[in-house]
Amino acid sequence: MTIIQLAKFGHLLSSRELGREAWQAFLSSHSRGQLEEPVIVDCGGVSTLSHSWGDEFLSSLLAHLQGPLTFRNTGNASVRATLEYLQEIHGKRLVIEP
């Protein structure tokens, strides 16, 4: 199982540029095999998540994952709004835990 702590990329997660940068950093530090395992994205510690950052990082993650994906610690209003919007865009039901 792979756990991704979003707050390690920053507390205020905004802009496509920074989201893309975060995704490239993630790819370089994780093996392809880790994307075949179940992945948990821990949103704890994030102060703001914008759609653009989420679209670059989380949409890329969704496209590469082969195992199940769960989001945790999603009490932040902008985290929830971004995840709900990504569900709409991708037409996928995400597992979102409080």
Binding site: L12, H51, S52, D55, A77, S78, A81, Y85, I89
Partner: protein
């Protein structure tokens, strides 16, 4: 001038502290006519009436509008609200976030983050869609007043119509461009797979007690909390770039 304080007049240092800007900025604003002192002493010291400073600070929208509309020569070389690069904008966004975190009704479930996310999308759009195309002054005017619960973001870029015509040349006018920007997932930077940021903004505004005003070209859009309908109308004075006012009422 010892009685100045008693008369509600502030020295330039006190006025700078009052507005949260530098004395140099006040001097530039004086030269540019943006904000004149109320009184200049025989010794050439500037004094500002507190009531006038309060009025000036409260009218963020006019300042942003003037910045977006002015001829490039008339714009002060530096304004504390001016973010020439995306990095400066990001840094000020973090400052806004810190200020919003102190507002009690925005603390529950981190509601302040919704305001920050909206401002982030609008500001990031300005930088992403004008990169390499700024007609004169790059960057955005970004200011906020947490007491009046307002944020303004303005740019002097090419505007939403010109951006979207790069991927949809048939767009007839600014009104239709605004409608498309807020209702369709269409990227002005094809072939990149992006877009949708302003749809996200619409969703947040309409689901919360926020409101949004946007002008680009000769079209203006209003969106209010509790109502996803876009009210698009014509503006009297066209604006080449984009001007946005975000207001966040108490829940």
């Amino acid at each position: 001038m010892q009685n100045m304080g008693e008369n509600g007049m502030l020295s330039i240092s006190e006025a700078a502290d009052f507005l949260g800007i530098s004395r140099q900025t006040l001097r530039r604003w004086d030269k540019a006519g943006t904000l004149r002192p109320s009184y200049i002493s025989p010794g050439k010291h500037r004094y500002y009436r507190q009531s006038e400073l309060r009025k000036f600070a409260s009218d963020l929208f006019s300042r942003a509008n003037n910045w977006a509309l002015a001829s490039s020569e008339a714009i002060p070389a530096a304004d504390d609200a001016y973010c020439p690069t995306s990095s400066v904008f990001q840094a000020r966004l973090a400052t806004l976030e810190t200020a919003l975190q102190k507002i009690p009704d925005l603390q529950k479930e981190y509601r302040f983050s919704l305001v920050v996310a909206v401002v982030a999308e609008i500001g990031d759009n300005a930088f992403a869609h004008n990169l390499g195309q700024w007609p004169d002054i790059p960057g955005v005017f970004f200011a906020y007043d947490t007491n009046r619960r307002q944020v303004v973001v303005a740019d002097r870029g090419v505007g939403i119509l010109a951006t979207l015509r790069q991927v949809r040349p048939s767009l007839p006018d600014h009104r239709e461009a605004l409608r498309v920007a807020f209702t369709e997932r269409l990227s002005g930077r094809s072939p990149e797979n992006r877009g949708g940021g302003l749809k996200f903004v619409r969703k947040i505004i309409s689901q919360n007690n926020f409101s949004l005003f946007v002008q680009s070209g000769d079209a203006r859009l209003r969106l209010s909390g509790g109502d996803p309908a876009l009210r698009i109308s014509s503006a009297d004075t066209p604006l080449r770039g984009t001007l946005a006012l975000i207001e966040f009422s108490p829940s």
